[in-house]
């Protein structure tokens, strides 16, 4: 877990609308949110010393896609829970091989997110 009591999430998606929706969902659970628009910026967040408890990772993004970002984070020794959220059903194998903890197809709905967060013990 991140060092503070607040649960911190990083939303990684190049679509501002999707980030807005996911942000609002996570706010409902009391998460502190940071959002970035591509995989490289997600890596930079961790390189800058930021800590997160959860990453919601899209697949298709400019500069660095979600599979590569996931693989890079795991290679850096980052053990944060990573949930791949994408419309590309064919990318599940690639994401899980890269080290994602969960894979879910868009659109993300609130009950599905709650189930995932419960599975990670983020909800008491």
């Amino acid at each position: 877990m991140a060092s503070s009591q607040v649960v911190k999430a990083l939303i990684v998606d190049d679509n501002a609308m999707i980030r807005r929706i996911h942000m609002t969902m996570l706010f409902r659970f009391g998460f502190e949110i940071t959002e970035v628009e591509d995989g490289k910026k997600a890596i930079d967040q961790f390189l800058d010393g930021n800590e997160y408890d959860l990453v919601l990772m899209d697949k298709e993004m400019p500069n660095m896609d979600g599979v590569e970002a996931t693989r890079t984070l795991r290679g850096m020794g980052i053990s944060t829970k990573i949930v791949a959220i994408t419309t590309d059903s064919n990318s599940m194998g690639a994401f899980l091989d890269a080290g994602a903890d969960e894979f879910i197809l868009k659109p993300l709905n609130f009950p599905a997110l709650a189930d995932i967060l419960k599975g990670f013990n983020f909800l008491n």
């Binding site: 679509n15 501002a16 609308m17 999707i18 807005r20 929706i21 609002t24 969902m25 706010f27 409902r28 298709e60 419309t87 590309d88 868009k106 659109p107 709905n109 609130f110």
Partner: protein, 151 residues
């Protein structure tokens, strides 16, 4: 101003959007996320959708104008557009995006062109209807206005 009537008009327009297949249950998910902390959440998300989708459609237009058609690029753009449509529950648009992608896979340029024209029409109609809907809601004001007793 007759707030009750405005609310009734808004409700009727909203119902027609679902009955006519413009929106699906994903839109309910957005409505469920709207609360006092985010009172204009749905309208904000819809605004972002139309901004993003207009950009994607401009990219698709440019790609279709090129002499040499890059079906892979067209498919990527349309996958992005379909993803956005799915996330706000724009059901008819989503269906047409799927058809466009099938035309890409078949390298059927005429099919792509026809489908894209339909996407542009559906996009325009949905935009008009949702703009009317949110305008009615703004005119109607918060529910307290509709129930405030007249002096």
């Amino acid at each position: 101003m007759d707030y009750v009537n405005l609310r009734r008009q808004a409700a009727s327009l909203r119902k027609s959007l679902f009955d006519q297949g413009y929106l699906d249950e994903q839109f309910y998910q957005l409505e469920d996320l709207q609360d006092d902390a985010s009172p204009n959440f749905v309208e904000e998300v819809v605004t972002l959708f139309f901004r993003d989708s207009a950009r994607l459609m401009a990219n698709i237009d440019q790609a279709l104008d090129k002499c040499v058609k890059d079906f892979n690029k067209l498919d990527v753009y349309m996958q992005q557009l379909k993803g956005s449509c799915t996330s706000i529950g724009a059901s008819r648009l989503k269906t047409e995006c799927t058809f466009f992608r099938e035309c890409c896979r078949d390298e059927n340029i005429e099919g792509c062109m026809r489908s894209f024209q339909k996407i542009k029409r559906e996009h325009s109609v949905l935009r008009q209807k949702l703009e009317s809907y949110f305008q009615l809601l703004r005119q109607a004001g918060p529910i307290e206005c509709a129930t405030r007793p007249s002096k």
